[in-house]
Structure formats: structure tokens, C-alpha cells
């Protein structure tokens, strides 16, 4: 086997357009991290390690035949549920929330696992019952979704529980949940909003109130929102230039390598840079939709659609929160924010998309 053939073999399950978009976003991540970390190599180097690990995992998943992928659904879901229950019982409390589980060697956040686990389980369930889908099946799928969501919301981690709800809802929607039910749920949701409000924790209410008027508390909860808006707005059309963001480099921006990294990018690269960044994300999402459209089985269609939509949602929620149109929910910017866990989860998702795209011929025949 020549070197070229070996290479061909190696990349045979990598979707090139998707990889191109992801690669550019990852490069952007390293570039912005260097600036956000005040021209230090520390975080970019760590991030590079995270990327390598995540890419390896993505490659492995991409090479995994689809029936193997399907087989992982139940174990992952059951494991995730077990861990969530454990967290509720023995989890570490940090910042007033019980989210982490100490396994001795490492701390893990089981809700992260469920970002993949929940849609996987639901897609698996719909695939199994494809032939005889009734409203009862949708209800059971919804239950599969609501159990982990309730546990995560109780931690409390409202942001993650909402995002997992969204990815589960996308599965239900793509699986053909009737518009009537969707409409009914929407009405019910609006009607129950006041009750949900009273069930929220004080800090969660604060964050929502601050979104409505951040100037109420400029040095407290509104600080993040105000400083992020200033960073984005003062970037202007052309940006202040790479490494020249004053909000970034004079410490006005909070959490600027993680949740608020988009503010760093916006400040230094301006509207022009943002158009480029949004195009990259749009490109990745559109490629995801194309893969979804081409997917050959019910399971893969649901899974690919959910992964793609979830990715788009995360991006929107993060950018919306940084630019001040959504409350601060602690969602990283996909592929750009510093952090190993979210990187791994995302790349596993992309690995599945690639697997779905590159194994479809095998299924069809």
C-alpha cells in the first residue's frame, strides 16, 4: 500500500467540507485564544491538546459503522442517567450548584455526556419503532428527554437543561411530531411561564432581569452584559485590530477565554470579522443539513439533524448572550471557547455526522 493509498484510507471517513469548516473555526479559536489570554501561549497550547484529543475521537467515531453507533445509544443513556442520579446524591458542590462528580482521578460533569446521550437514545427509540409510530411513542420519547432534563435543571443548571431540551425537541420535531401537538405545547409553555418563574433560583431570575436592564446593577450581575456589549460595540466595523482590544487586554471582559471569547473576537475584528465568523458557522451548519438530507436511515436522519441544529443553537445562544440579547447562561462558543469537555462533545457529534455521511452507501446497498 503506497503512502498515498494509506492517506486515502485514513481520510476516507472524513467529510471534507465539514472538516474544512471545522478546521478554520479551530484555527480561529487558537488565534483568538492567544489574544484573549493576553498574548500568552499557555491556553492556546492547552487548547491545541484538547483539539488533538477531540480530533482523534472524532476520527474514531467517523470510522465507526452506523450499527455500532446505534448500539452505543442505550449504554450511554443508562450510564448518563446513573451518573446524573449519582451527582444528585453525592455530587460536588461548586458555585452553589451540584454538577460535578468526583471520580477520584477526575471530575466529570455527566450533563455534558447527555448532550449526546439524549438525542442518541431518542433517535434509537424512534428507529426501533419506526414502523408503528403513534402518539404514545412520542410521549415515551419525550419522557426519555424529560428525565435527564429534570435532573440537570435541579442541579441547578438551567442553561444545559434547556439546551438538552432543545436537542431532544429537534429529534421529536424531525421525527414528525404533529404541528398540533407542538402548538398545544407552546400554548401550555406560555401559560406555565409564571409558575416556572417562581421555580427559578434567585440568581437565574437575576440574570434574566439583568438582560432586560443591565444598567440596574453595573458592578454586579449586569457587569458581564455591559462590558461584553461595550467590547462588541466598540469594535466597530473594522475592529480595533488583533491584540489591540482594550476591553480584553485591560481585564474589563470577564471569562474572556471561555464564555465571552466572542466579545474578544468582535472587539478586535469588528463587524467584518463577525461576518466571516458567522459565514463559517453557517457553512458548517449547512453542510450538516446536507448530510442530514442525504442520511439513509431514520436513526441517522434524526441524529444528524439534531446534532446540526444543536450546534447552530449553541452558537446562537452564545453569541446572543455575549451581544446582549439573551441571558447569560454559561454556554461556550462551539469550537472556539477554551475547554476540553465541550470540544470533545462537539467533535464526537461531528464524528457521527461524518460517519453518517460516509457510511450511507453501505447501508443503502
Amino acid at each position: 500500500m503506497t503512502r498515498k493509498q494509506l492517506w486515502q484510507r485514513f481520510i476516507s471517513h472524513i467529510d471534507r467540507p465539514l472538516m474544512l469548516g471545522i478546521g478554520l473555526l479551530l484555527l480561529t479559536s487558537l488565534l483568538v485564544l492567544y489574544s484573549a489570554d493576553n498574548a500568552s501561549w499557555a491556553q492556546p497550547l492547552n487548547q491545541m491538546r484538547n483539539i488533538v484529543v477531540a480530533l482523534v475521537c472524532m476520527w474514531l467515531v467517523a470510522n465507526l459503522p452506523l450499527h455500532y453507533l446505534m448500539r452505543t445509544a442505550v449504554p450511554i443513556y443508562v450510564l448518563g442517567m446513573a451518573l446524573l442520579v449519582s451527582v444528585a446524591l453525592f455530587g460536588e458542590i461548586s458555585h452553589g450548584a451540584r454538577r460535578w462528580l468526583n471520580l477520584g482521578v477526575m471530575n466529570i460533569q455527566p450533563s455534558e455526556l447527555m448532550k449526546i446521550g439524549v438525542p442518541l437514545m431518542m433517535a434509537w427509540y424512534f428507529e426501533r419503532n419506526e414502523a408503528t409510530l403513534t402518539l404514545k411513542n412520542y410521549a415515551i420519547a419525550a419522557l426519555l428527554l424529560l428525565m435527564p432534563v429534570a435532573l440537570i435543571a435541579r442541579q441547578p443548571d438551567l442553561g444545559t437543561s434547556l439546551l438538552i431540551s432543545a436537542s431532544g425537541f429537534y429529534v421529536l420535531f424531525l421525527a414528525g411530531l404533529s404541528w398540533k401537538v407542538i402548538g398545544g405545547l407552546t400554548v401550555a409553555g406560555i401559560a406555565s411561564a409564571p409558575f416556572l418563574w417562581s421555580g427559578l433560583h434567585d440568581y437565574q431570575r437575576h440574570r434574566i432581569l439583568m438582560l432586560l436592564d443591565p444598567s440596574q446593577d453595573p458592578l454586579g450581575n449586569g457587569y458581564h452584559t455591559i462590558q461584553a456589549s461595550i467590547a462588541v460595540g466598540s469594535g466597530g466595523i473594522l475592529g480595533k485590530g488583533y491584540l489591540n482590544g482594550t476591553q480584553t487586554h485591560l481585564d474589563f471582559l470577564p471569562e474572556r477565554t471561555t464564555d465571552f471569547i466572542f466579545a474578544v473576537f468582535s472587539e478586535e475584528f469588528g463587524l467584518i470579522g463577525n461576518l466571516f465568523l458567522l459565514s463559517l458557522y453557517a457553512f458548517v451548519v449547512m453542510r450538516g443539513f446536507i448530510i442530514t438530507g442525504n442520511a439513509s436511515t431514520y436513526f441517522t436522519r434524526l441524529m444528524a439533524g439534531s446534532i446540526t441544529l444543536t450546534f447552530a443553537t449553541y452558537t446562537f445562544v452564545n453569541m446572543g448572550m455575549v451581544s446582549g440579547i439573551l441571558p447569560i447562561v454559561g454556554v461556550p462558543l462551539p469550537l472556539i471557547s477554551y475547554g476540553g469537555t465541550s470540544m470533545l462533545t462537539l467533535m464526537l457529534g461531528f464524528g457521527m455526522l461524518m460517519s453518517i455521511e460516509t457510511h450511507k452507501q453501505l447501508v443503502k446497498t
Partner: protein, 633 residues
């Protein structure tokens, strides 16, 4: 068949799915559009607004308060100075729980209730992001103790500041005044005057006295530092800096030693003294007794001290020299005599026969001379030496109020002198028009009679009387009185002199002046009303005693100093200038409830003139020691 149906279902399912996918694509496009709109709004439409916010985040303009100008006496003695000291300051924006922080601080460094109240008041009034003082004048030990614990108190810091100090305390209170914290109405005043920028960072402003009237000279020009700061408020680098320019130094015409002697000479008496150099208007001494300690006011006076000062029957806060208005009494007589000569009503040698009583034509009302039985034959010279009342009753009647008003106005009575202090009162020189306006009454001849001896409606301030005396001493050439002689600028190292040109010349006939001055010398010689305080002086003193009634006497009632409550006794006046031939000092002394001018007021004048003309420190002769001499006014 079955397979066919399933196949069709499958087709439809794919179709349904793709419809849903299209909805999803639409959903994502909507999200994208929302984001784009928001980013365009922030980065293109509102760019300027956020750009400004980012700059003000980053750039912190720190004003550098200039050193306030010094105030020196004519010999360079410091009357108002600055000294540096340490204050403990809190930045309220960096402290989450102010109460707890102050409680903790008070365990380390004494913080009194007074300090807390003052801090709260400042907090309520504070402007932008300034630090506020919680304690002033820290001792070195307190500074050391706090420095060791500073890490426990983020947002609390020790600052070195300049404090204002008045080393002579109450001796200069009415002259120098004091500075105090800028209040809200002063903030408005500064804003209206376009001065707010120069007062950024300034906490003090002149409240009274020269500190107030020369505020613009003393304050100086505020410097600025533009500093780039990070979110923690730490300075990253300095972008630009403009040094402050210290305020100008005021050099007074006042001689502090003379002032001290004058002040001491009052003993326990209340009163005022204004001494002026008649040749140029330099105010040499400016005394109002009692004084108060101006240092109490700088950082806000506490309620107790304020109540003590404000409710004291001695009214120490009242600047008697500037604002006290008293009937001039017999000190009016030399000016009345000049008026009589000016309008040719009296010839100097023309004598009247004084029986001790004066009657208006067609009236039985008695106007009595202070001396029962009168002074016998009295010409103008004698009328001043013995202070004959009857002579002036008649003179006033013949002059008429209009002439009196016109002539005395020219000496500055009833008008502000224009001294360089705020709040001067104008006294009162009555006229027909004034009485009509004030009381809607016509002027009666009896009113004129009273004005003739400086009683009735007329009121003067000690400053006015000193100014009029100085003008008389200088042969009618008037100089505007001033406390500040020179203004020294540190920037140009040039001194600006206060204008020394006369403001007007009354062109008084020299013969008239000679007569009146000679008579005033007679006052301090054998047979005169002030002889006891002035005898033995190696220079000739021209003077005039006066008595200002505090309570009106009923017809036929006899005034008895012993029987009248102390606060109802007459005020004593003495005006003088010396040497009589070539006056170098002119003054007016008022002693409240002092009784007779020759007894209480003249000795004070003598001590002041002795020191000024001879450099002689006063003998420990007190006012009371000459009291038994008791010659009447």
C-alpha cells in the same frame, strides 16, 4: 401489495422529513438574521456610543489639586498655610459593604461617630468615582498600623494630602476667614461660572474672609493626569500629564504684630478696631473681638462647637469691624464742623453760649448737652475739644439734613468702602428721601438735631469710620482701603500691587482742615476728652471720642452707667490719627458697652499707635486702670 404500500409510505416519510428539514433551515436562517441585526446595531449603528464607553472604561482622568496659595502679613508672617498629613480614604465603588468595612477599620484606627457622620454626608454628596475621607490627620503610628493590614481592606487607602492651617487661630478669624468643603450651592456656583473643570478634585473652597474674596487667586490651576487603567482600577500607564499650578500668595497690608497688640488690648471687651495708613489705604489692623477658631470649620464643624459659637451672647461669628453698625455718636462732630465751614454756616471764631440745653423753635422738647449746665461760651475749636452737644444741635439745624447728607456722603458714610472682603454693610446716613421710603414719614427738624451729634437714625461701621478718619487725616484725599497689598504669582514670580492711586480728593479748604485737626489734637491734650489715654505720647495725636447709645433715654432721665445693665451700657468710640502733622496711621476703635470713649477706646488706640509709630510694646496698662479717670464725653 404490502410491499408497495410500505414503499409509498417510505417515500412520503422522506418527503415529510425533508419538509421538516426545510423548516429547520429556515429556523437557522432566522437565528442568523437576528444575530446579524444585533451585531450591525452594536458595531455599526451604536459604534460611537460604545466606543465612548470603552474609552471611559480605559482612560481615567485624575485631577491633581494645586496647592492653595499662602496668606502672609506685610512682614512675611504666615497667616494661612498648608501642611501635609495623612488621611484614610475609602472608594465606595470598590467596597461592597461600607458599614462592615468601617466597623472593621474602627477596630484598627479610631473612627468617631463624628467621622462616620461626616463620611455619610460626603457619600450623599459625592461626585463621580472619587475616594472619600473617613479619617483625617492620621498619626504615624496609625499609618503604620493600617499599612500592615491594608490587604484586608480593598478599596481603602492612605493618602497624603495638604491641610489648611491658620496658625493665629481666632486672632485672624475675621480677617482671613476659612475654607471648607464645597457644598451643593457652591458646586452650582462653580458650574454657572464655568469653573467646575478647574475644581475637579478640589474639595475645599473659601467660605468667608479673604479666603472667600480672593478664592480665584488662592485656588490655583488644577493639573490633570490621563491614566490608562485596567478593570481592577490599577494604572497601566500614563497617557498624558499636566502639572498643577499653585495658587498665588497674598501679601497683606496688615501687620500681624499690630493686630495682636490691638486684639490683646481689648481684654475682655467686645468691639472692633480698624487701622488704616491714610497715605495709601493699607489696612494695618483689622480686629473684631471676640474671634473664633477658623480651624474648626475646615472639615465641617461639629454641632456642639457650632451651637456654642452661634448661640453665644458675645456673637463671636459676627464680624463687627465689617458688618457691625453702630450710631457714630460724637465721632461725627469733626465732620459736622467741616460741613459747617464748607457751607459757611459757621465761622471758626463764632461762639455760642451753651446753657446745657437746646430747644427747637416753638417746641418745649429739651435737647440736653452731656454736661449739666453746659460749657459756657463755645466756639468751633472748643466744641470739638470738649465735645459740646449743644453747639452741634444748632449747627445741624442751620445746615439742614440735605446739606449734612451731601457732605457726609462724600466722606463715605452710608456707603460701602469697597474693602476686599465680602459681606460689608453700608451703615446708614439718613435723608428725607430715605425716611419717606423707610417709614413713609416726612423728615422732622428733631431728626436733624439728633443727626448733629451722631445719634438718631445714623449708623456707621468701624471700617467706615476708620476710612472717613483716614480721609480727613490725609486732607480729604481718599484711598480705597484694602487688606491685600500684593499678590505674588509663583508662575511668573511677579508681584501685582493693589492699586495705590487715590480714589478721590474732596478738595477741602486747608484752613478748615487745620482748624478741625488742631481741635482734634486738643481732644488729646489737657482739657480734652481723651487726655488720660494719650498723655505722655512723644508724638501728637489727633482724636475724637464718641458714645453710642444702646438704649434711648426718656426725656429728663439721667444716664447712670452704674445702674444700667452691662449689656445696655453705651458703646465707646475713639477715632484718631497720628502723628497729627504727618499722619501715618488713622484708626477707629469701638468698644461695645465700654461706656466712655476716652476711657475704654482711646487706650486701645494709644497702644496700637505706640507700637506702630515707636515700635513700643504696650505697657501692661489695662483699660480698667484708667477707668477711674472717668472724664465724660
Amino acid at each position: 401489495m404490502k410491499k408497495h404500500v410500505e414503499f409509498k409510505n417510505h417515500q412520503r416519510e422522506i418527503f415529510h422529513f425533508q419538509m421538516r428539514l426545510v423548516v429547520c433551515v429556515g429556523f437557522v436562517l432566522v437565528l442568523l438574521a437576528i444575530l446579524l441585526a444585533r451585531l450591525v446595531y452594536l458595531q455599526a449603528i451604536r459604534y460611537g456610543y460604545y466606543q465612548t464607553l470603552a474609552e471611559s472604561n480605559r482612560i481615567f482622568v485624575v485631577p491633581i489639586v494645586p496647592n492653595r496659595g499662602l496668606i502672609l502679613d506685610r512682614n512675611g508672617i504666615e497667616l494661612a498655610r498648608n501642611y501635609s498629613g495623612y488621611t484614610l480614604e475609602i472608594n465606595p465603588n470598590k467596597v461592597t459593604d461600607l458599614e462592615a468595612t468601617i466597623d472593621n477599620l474602627s477596630k484598627l484606627i479610631e473612627v468617631t461617630q463624628k467621622d462616620r457622620k461626616r463620611f455619610k454626608k460626603q457619600l450623599a454628596e459625592s461626585r463621580d468615582l472619587e475616594t472619600l475621607m473617613i479619617r483625617s490627620k492620621l498619626s504615624d503610628e496609625e499609618v503604620a498600623r493600617f499599612a500592615a493590614q491594608q490587604y484586608r481592606f480593598p478599596g481603602v487607602e492612605i493618602k497624603a494630602r495638604l491641610f489648611r492651617d491658620y496658625p493665629f487661630g481666632e486672632k485672624t478669624a475675621h480677617l482671613i476667614g476659612y475654607i471648607g468643603r464645597i457644598n451643593e450651592s457652591e458646586v452650582r456656583w462653580l458650574e454657572d461660572g464655568g469653573l467646575a473643570a478647574n475644581y475637579r478634585g478640589s474639595e475645599y473652597i473659601g467660605k468667608t474672609g479673604l479666603e472667600q474674596s480672593y478664592e480665584s487667586e488662592l485656588h490655583g490651576t488644577t493639573g490633570l493626569e490621563q491614566i490608562e487603567v485596567d478593570a481592577g482600577g490599577r494604572a497601566v500607564r500614563m497617557l498624558s500629564s499636566t502639572a498643577p499650578i499653585s495658587g498665588n500668595t497674598l501679601i497683606l497690608s496688615v501687620d500681624m504684630k499690630l493686630q495682636e497688640i490691638a486684639e490683646k488690648s481689648f481684654g475682655d471687651y467686645r468691639g472692633a478696631l480698624v487701622a488704616i495708613d491714610p497715605n495709601n489705604g493699607d489696612v494695618l489692623a483689622f480686629v473684631s473681638q471676640p474671634g473664633y477658631d477658623p480651624n474648626l470649620f475646615i472639615d465641617g464643624i461639629d454641632t456642639q462647637s457650632w451651637n456654642e459659637l452661634n448661640n453665644s451672647p458675645d456673637v463671636p461669628l459676627n464680624n463687627r469691624a465689617l458688618r457691625g453698625q453702630y450710631p457714630p455718636g460724637s465721632t461725627f462732630k469733626p465732620f459736622m464742623a467741616l460741613a459747617g465751614l464748607h457751607f459757611n454756616i459757621r465761622k471758626p471764631e463764632q461762639a455760642i453760649s451753651d446753657q446745657g440745653v437746646f430747644y427747637l423753635q416753638g417746641s418745649s422738647r429739651q435737647y440736653r448737652d452731656w454736661r449739666k449746665g453746659g460749657h459756657g461760651s463755645v466756639n468751633m475749636f472748643k466744641s470739638i475739644v470738649v465735645s459740646c452737644d449743644t453747639y452741634y444741635y444748632g449747627l445741624a439745624m442751620e445746615l439742614g439734613i440735605d446739606n449734612i447728607f451731601d457732605y457726609l456722603t462724600s466722606f463715605g458714610f452710608g456707603k460701602k468702602t469697597g474693602l476686599d472682603l465680602e459681606g460689608e454693610t453700608s451703615g446708614l446716613l439718613p435723608s428725607q428721601e430715605w425716611k419717606m421710603r423707610r417709614y413713609q414719614q416726612i423728615w422732622y427738624p428733631g431728626d436733624t438735631v439728633s443727626v448733629g451729634i451722631g445719634q438718631g437714625y445714623s449708623l456707621v461701621t468701624p471700617l467706615q469710620l476708620a476710612f472717613a478718619t483716614a480721609t480727613l487725616a490725609n486732607d480729604g484725599v481718599a484711598f480705597k482701603p484694602h487688606l491685600v497689598k500684593e499678590i505674588r504669582s509663583l508662575r511668573s514670580s511677579e508681584n501685582r500691587f493693589i492699586a495705590k492711586d487715590p480714589i478721590y480728593d474732596l478738595n477741602i479748604d486747608q484752613a478748615h482742615l487745620d482748624l478741625v485737626k488742631r481741635a482734634m489734637v486738643g481732644v488729646t491734650q489737657s482739657g480734652g476728652t481723651a487726655v488720660y489715654a494719650t498723655q505722655g505720647a512723644p508724638y501728637r495725636i489727633a482724636g475724637k471720642t464718641g458714645t453710642a447709645q444702646v438704649i434711648a433715654m426718656k426725656q429728663g432721665e439721667k444716664y447712670d452707667a452704674e445702674k444700667v445693665a452691662e449689656r445696655h451700657r453705651d458703646h465707646a468710640w475713639f477715632v484718631a490719627f497720628a502723628p497729627a502733622e504727618d499722619p501715618k496711621i488713622a484708626l477707629a476703635v469701638l468698644v461695645e458697652n465700654g461706656g466712655h470713649g476716652g476711657v475704654t477706646a482711646a487706650p486701645i488706640a494709644r497702644k496700637v499707635m505706640d507700637y506702630y509709630l515707636l515700635g513700643k510694646m504696650p505697657t501692661p496698662l489695662t483699660v480698667k486702670e484708667v477707668k477711674e479717670a472717668g472724664e465724660h464725653d
